[in-house]
Symmetry: D2
Subunit: 364 residues, 4 copies
Amino acid sequence: MAKRLKICINTGGGDAPGLNAVIEAVTMAAYNRQWEVYGIKSGYAGLLNTEEIIQLTPEKVYGIASLGGTILGTTNKGNPFMMPVCNAAGECEQRDLSDRVMDNFRRLHFDALVAVGGDGSLDIAHRFAAKGMPVVGVPKTIDNDMGGTVITFGFDTAVSIATEAIDRLHSTAKSHDRVMVVELMGRNAGFIALNSGISGNADVILIPEIPFDIDKVCEKLMENELRGHKYAIMVVAEGALPKGGDVITKGAAEPGRQHVILGGIAEYVAKEISQRTGKDSRSMVLGHLQRGGSPTTFDRLLSLRFGAAAVRAIEQGKFDHMVGLQSPDIVLVPLEKALGMQKRVRVDGDTVLTGRDLGICFGD
Amino acid sequence: MAKRLKICINTGGGDAPGLNAVIEAVTMAAYNRQWEVYGIKSGYAGLLNTEEIIQLTPEKVYGIASLGGTILGTTNKGNPFMMPVCNAAGECEQRDLSDRVMDNFRRLHFDALVAVGGDGSLDIAHRFAAKGMPVVGVPKTIDNDMGGTVITFGFDTAVSIATEAIDRLHSTAKSHDRVMVVELMGRNAGFIALNSGISGNADVILIPEIPFDIDKVCEKLMENELRGHKYAIMVVAEGALPKGGDVITKGAAEPGRQHVILGGIAEYVAKEISQRTGKDSRSMVLGHLQRGGSPTTFDRLLSLRFGAAAVRAIEQGKFDHMVGLQSPDIVLVPLEKALGMQKRVRVDGDTVLTGRDLGICFGD
Amino acid sequence: MAKRLKICINTGGGDAPGLNAVIEAVTMAAYNRQWEVYGIKSGYAGLLNTEEIIQLTPEKVYGIASLGGTILGTTNKGNPFMMPVCNAAGECEQRDLSDRVMDNFRRLHFDALVAVGGDGSLDIAHRFAAKGMPVVGVPKTIDNDMGGTVITFGFDTAVSIATEAIDRLHSTAKSHDRVMVVELMGRNAGFIALNSGISGNADVILIPEIPFDIDKVCEKLMENELRGHKYAIMVVAEGALPKGGDVITKGAAEPGRQHVILGGIAEYVAKEISQRTGKDSRSMVLGHLQRGGSPTTFDRLLSLRFGAAAVRAIEQGKFDHMVGLQSPDIVLVPLEKALGMQKRVRVDGDTVLTGRDLGICFGD
Amino acid sequence: MAKRLKICINTGGGDAPGLNAVIEAVTMAAYNRQWEVYGIKSGYAGLLNTEEIIQLTPEKVYGIASLGGTILGTTNKGNPFMMPVCNAAGECEQRDLSDRVMDNFRRLHFDALVAVGGDGSLDIAHRFAAKGMPVVGVPKTIDNDMGGTVITFGFDTAVSIATEAIDRLHSTAKSHDRVMVVELMGRNAGFIALNSGISGNADVILIPEIPFDIDKVCEKLMENELRGHKYAIMVVAEGALPKGGDVITKGAAEPGRQHVILGGIAEYVAKEISQRTGKDSRSMVLGHLQRGGSPTTFDRLLSLRFGAAAVRAIEQGKFDHMVGLQSPDIVLVPLEKALGMQKRVRVDGDTVLTGRDLGICFGD
């Protein structure tokens, strides 16, 4: 008879639609093996402060797959390998508390950890694996920039929300002969902007992988105008950059990801277009709408498959790996290998080619 | 046998989901009476330049009720009673071209005009009625601030989109213990913010009808914090104002309606909260997402009912009136009376009371 | 200082989107008055078996307004005034257990009951009021056939789901030149069929209020065919009846409401059309899809307003009444009066007229 | 300078969300190469009767990617290799009219055909390729049962619609302690039922690839009952079969695909469960709702990529191939090879394993 394991799961980093579905699948797959499963709240903090650990049961996870957010909280309260610790006088230093995490993990008799997170969280997971913790990773990023998997959960939802927003902007841009510049997420990758821009019938798409020339963009808009198409929808990835230019998003502590109130790339682009073409141009930042709320059916299923596959990996003793999608299969990829790969939009890939075929301007 | 009339329809002002449904209903109701019906493009401009008039047929309008935008264009190219006219030297003056509109209307043998628009457009319609044009109005405003009707089309869609956005912001605000301040449309009325704030489970709602005290808002957030509710969703109407304060949205050519890039009320509120409470606060302006795209089923039906009722009003010779909803009936209201009424949120009405009962803070 | 009341709430009858929002609003409005509030499970059964009572707290209801179903269960386990009671030998009789309910209500020191339900449940509530129970009703029916209120929650959701389904059927009916007959709910009223049929661009709508002549329907389809419109969408209310005909839904224990597997009105109509016109005709019963799942924003808000108004009614000592919408206000209506009114589609009302104006055939 | 080609496109077989997006992409990709592009209506019929050919322009296809249906009509009016031809006396015979199609194709100076269709239509395309027509296929099936591509457009939409329906059924099944049996499409494959059943939290999933034992299903339901889970959602693929049993869907001219009014597999299963367990069981057939209407964003993008890739294939002279998705790339697959492969759910694949891990019963 198989051993009854005792496993735990945490979720780290920003919100991504599908987190709860991963938790539901891990819980149910463990429960159906008669294992015990625990949720560690707030990333690794729960293994420093063991009060933040809750037992997960079928009742607690029933039906949560369709809900946004995460019942475990995603706020990373720091990296246990470099945790800020402050004394009464307010003086702080970074301390390596990873041994305390390891001690708690062993003291609680956990047999494995399912770590759900982005490259930061999975890097921490890999370091714990090196210290002897049996860990299986589940990749999470709405930006789709992680290696080792064709896609991650949350991305399909983000692209869908962005496309719906672009759809809605067409009618109002059209009725006012206006240029609407929408800034989308993606960090240093242009996947969300590319996919939703093509799906949403954008006239211009600017992504980090293709540095843009603002004059080329203006030419496109003027050509459209001559053909009677007086309004325009432009989709700009937060990490898009002008050719040979400096970084534009001044004031951003973390470049790209933040909604920079004092000016982001979309605002910059809208202003330049206004000045150069005289067209009424407006910018908007879609922001957090892209990463919250209920997952699409695609993301629900992918998350459930990821969660169940993580439990099967534990059963097989396959640690220091993460689950990944190599369509149509779920595979296991060594964390080391996955962490070494970062995905970017392939400039000569068929999706960019599709955009060019449709007449979309990439500013190059 | 009834006379076969020849009628026309125009749509003026900003975009509102449901415009195409009104056009479909007017076209079909006229067609089924064996009338002719024409669409005047770009507001009244089509009656100055008669090339901008198209015949509407069942084929042209089939199925457009579910589509956003308007097949007639909503850009008002000016008020015919005060039309900017420029000479070759670039010198412009305002001229009253209303007689030319009247001449064209008669020369084309139109028996009636269905004017779809907000208070501005309906005021123009009323002035043309005074000059002898048989006109029936259809009220249009997503802001729900027009008198003479319980509700207008576009409002239910705007509230639904805003609520869905608020729903999505909960999970990400929660996972980062953050205060999210969302700015919604409404001009000088708080209907969109109030209805979507309550539906979307907001912690704070600020509307023009209830001037707010920023300290009261901060108190509420700190109380929530003490009860373990560390994040907050705040919904702010674009026209919201602090008690005894000046207008905040500097730089807005048209106060309220525009997305003021250099700072709107939401940005102001987020900054104040950040400074006073130390909480991580972000603002976002939902903007044009609220007014574009497909109408909800509610708005589709209301628009179809409005359009058909306008044609019945023409049949009955009931001019200088607009259609309006007095649930569950469509009624006819004299334009003069409707234009004299502006709706605001009733501070002691049951919707505000519902908000208070739910524990929502209005900042007063 | 106001007395701290102890109130309870139950939900009876079939599912309706918005039930949880009523529960959330009642709970929060009571909590914010520092009252205690309890949920009685399974209709009145919880007052026969007091183990089925749970305390409702802000934590338990947080965010449930957007979820379908009801956390209290809606299965009526019988009417306490005529409760089936069986002995060990399996012999059953109906007994009046209403006094036991009254005793338990008093023994638990409840000050008031919020009864959420349809005409059946509210009739029971009214009888308990006559026995001295302080009760406030909240009307619930997706069919919109209750008097005393312009509309009830769940109806907007049902119409929206039905319209979306009709939208989807167009493209497939068109690509196969097919007649699609969709059967919708509504008991003896045609509101859902009428509103979604108009919104969804149906060619034919059959409702109980307008008995139909199948030959008229066939004529319409053949006329369409001649005009090149070869497919058709027909919307049929479950209670629709042919002129002078018998009831068609044989085998229905409860006429109308049930999905009658051995043949319902839609199947009957599809067969008749097939035989008379030779056109490929298919029927489908939308069934429970119309009554489950998340409420629309409209229904969320209406339900929250109803719940909060019920608590204010208790505060004011206004019992034996139900809340109702008289747009834009929530009013209180004596239960006796509301129960005596049943709503039907007004055959000469503007919604039916709109349908006729659009060219929709009602079979008369 | 490249030759300016003249190409055409047809769509064959049943409706699938995304058809219009393929047409838009083919049109735009051709237009941007300064090619001419024509749409052939009603499958191959347009090449028999050349009046059914329309020129496609950017104006005609602008924005159609988000609309359901197909602007070209999908009704196959027969296979040109075996076309029914009838004389005045009503005597019909099948004739091979493929040479007439070839003649018209050449006479109109077409350089290539993009054939969008399922296995039937692509088989015809392959036979025309053998006769010398330069043809590129685009695979279309909502059932996901075609080889040579990881997925086809329409499938993601079908799974999403089915999942949303299942979501809605939970609350009403729960409130009545009922077993709901939903029949989904898929022909002889279980992909739609499997994916939406897992995403929608079904208790039981029956698919053709796993013959079921009704007693195993009943056991599962009774176990659930004992654990307090009194209602159940069962998802049944139209092609599901009992172990060792005969085909159940009597009366189906084309087994599986048709909505068999006299009884389909869901009705059979519901009856059996009712009889064996005494539980209130209902069946519903989701039917055409799964295949009509607007595509999901996923399907829009995939369709656009397929359409653009088909034009690039023509440019490269790569005929008698079809486009296919090998994530993340679009590839070209010889039609002969693709037609020889049929996909079925892999019984030991990770999706079925995920279902088992979640505790879903497959009846085996």
